[in-house]
Symmetry: C2
Subunit: 242 residues, 2 copies
C-alpha cells in the first residue's frame, strides 16, 4: 500500500529515514542541523527526510543497565523496515545508545545505516588524538560501545568522574530541561576532564542538545551524523571517501 | 508490508502523522512546540510522530499564483496515505498555504486532518475580535483561504500594505534566514497594522519560525496546531470540545 515518491520529486537527492524519538529533542536537533548544513535557496533544495519520532520505543538504558526493561530490538526493526518501505535510501538513528542494536537493524533492511558510532570513531581517528573524554549514557559505558571501537583505533577513552551526574543531566534533557542552566551544568561537569583528555566526545544526543555549554574542545557525534546525512542525500563524498 | 506499532507501544497516546517539509524549518518548529507543550518526565511521555519532511513537494505558491508550477495534490495525497498506512491516527500539516488542498487529503484517507485553518479560525472566533491582520503568503490572500473563513465568522481580514515584503521574508526563512534580523524585519512589517487591526494572525508557518520579532498581540496558527496535536494525541479535550 505504501508508495515511494516518484523520481522527479527528488531533484537527485536521496531520502534519509530517521529512527527517532530517542529522545524527541535530539531528533529535532538533528533535523535542525541537517537544515542548517544544506545550501538552500528554497524548500526544494532541502533534504527529504522520513522521520519516525517514536518516544515509546522501550528504554535502551532500562534494557541494558537495569536488565528489567523490554528489549527495544523488535520496535527498532519495525521502524527501520517501515522507513525502507516508505522510500528511504539510507537510515540514521540520532541516539548513540541505540547503536547497541545496530546489527539487528542492518540485518533487517537492504539499505545502509549511517552508523553514528562508526562515523564518529572514523572522524576521531583522523584527528590524531590519544585520550578521549567520553560524554555518554551509563549504558554506553557499560557495554563498551565507544570504548572498544576507540581502542581498536589506538585511542583511550576516559569516563567522567561524575558519571552519575552526567546521567542525571541526560534524563533532565529528556524531561525538557534544555536551557542555559542545563548547558552550564554540562560545562561544569566536563571541566573535570581538563588536562586528562585531548578532546571531549559528545556521545549522547541529549547532551548534543545542550552542547553550547561546553567550552573545552569537543567533537559532537550528532554533528558528525548530520554532516553524513547531508553528504549522502546530496550524493557528495561521504565520510568513508573523505 | 508496513506494520503499525503494537498497541502496548502507545501508552494510550495516539500517533500523529505530519505532512511536512513546507518548509522544513516550519516542520521542525512544530515538532519543537509539540515537545515543549507535552508534560514529560522521560521519553515515553512524549507524543509519537510520523513525519514526512518532504521539501520536494511542488511549490504551492508557484501552482496557485504563477499558475506554472506542478499541482502538489498527488504528492500530498501520497504522503497522507503513507502516514495512515504507517499507523497515524490523525494528520497535521504545518503549512497554511497547503490547506488549499485539504479537501483532497481528507477524501483520500480515513483518519482526520487536524486542519490548521479551521482550528485557527475557531480559536479567533472565541477571542471576540473584529479586524484581523493577516500575515500570510500571497497565495493564501489570493485564494481567500482565511478571508472567507473569517468573514463567515463575522471577522474582517486586513492584508499588510507591504505584502511583497512579507512574501520576501517568507522566502528568506525557507532559505535559512531565521535569526534576529529576520525577526526584527517581521516586527517592523507588522508595525504597519498599528491601530488598524484588533489582533494579528500569523498564518504562514515560516513566519511562525520568526514570530519572536512581533511585539503587537498576535495569534500564531502553528501554535494552535501544536496545541491540538498534543490534545488529540493525549486524548484530551480538543479544540472542538473546548
Amino acid at each position: 500500500m505504501t508508495s515511494p515518491p516518484s523520481p522527479n520529486e527528488q531533484r537527485n537527492h536521496r531520502v534519509i529515514g530517521v529512527i527517532g524519538g530517542m529522545g524527541p529533542e535530539a531528533t529535532v536537533d538533528l533535523m535542525r542541523r541537517v537544515i542548517a548544513k544544506t545550501p538552500a535557496r528554497d524548500d526544494q533544495d532541502h533534504v527529504h527526510l522520513l522521520v519516525e519520532s517514536n518516544p515509546k520505543i522501550p528504554s535502551r538504558v532500562a534494557h541494558l543497565i537495569a536488565g528489567t526493561g523490554r528489549d527495544p530490538t523488535s520496535e527498532l526493526v519495525r521502524i527501520a523496515r517501515n522507513l525502507e518501505t516508505a522510500g528511504a535510501d539510507a537510515l540514521a538513528m540520532p541516539c548513540n545508545t541505540a547503536h547497541v542494536y545496530a546489527r539487528s537493524i542492518r540485518e533487517a533492511v537492504n539499505i545502509p545505516l549511517l552508523d553514528m558510532v562508526q562515523l564518529t570513531v572514523a572522524k576521531l581517528a583522523k584527528l590524531n588524538v590519544a585520550r578521549v573524554g567520553l560524554l555518554a549514557s551509563s549504558a554506553v559505558h557499560q557495554v563498551h560501545l565507544y570504548r572498544d571501537a576507540l581502542a581498536a583505533n589506538g585511542m583511550e577513552s576516559v569516563v567522567p568522574k561524575q558519571q552519575a551526574q552526567v546521567m542525571e543531566l541526560i534524563v533532565a534533557v529528556k524531561r525538557g530541561d534544555i536551557g542555559a542552566a542545563a548547558q552550564a551544568r554540562l560545562g561544569s561537569l566536563t571541566a573535570d576532564f581538563a588536562g586528562e583528555v585531548d578532546l571531549q566526545l559528545i556521545a549522547c544526543s541529549e547532551l548534543s542538545v545542550i552542547a553550547a555549554g561546553v567550552s573545552a574542545p569537543f567533537l559532537d557525534s550528532l554533528e558528525v551524523l548530520a554532516d553524513e546525512i547531508v553528504a549522502f542525500a546530496r550524493a557528495l563524498p561521504t565520510a568513508a571517501m573523505r
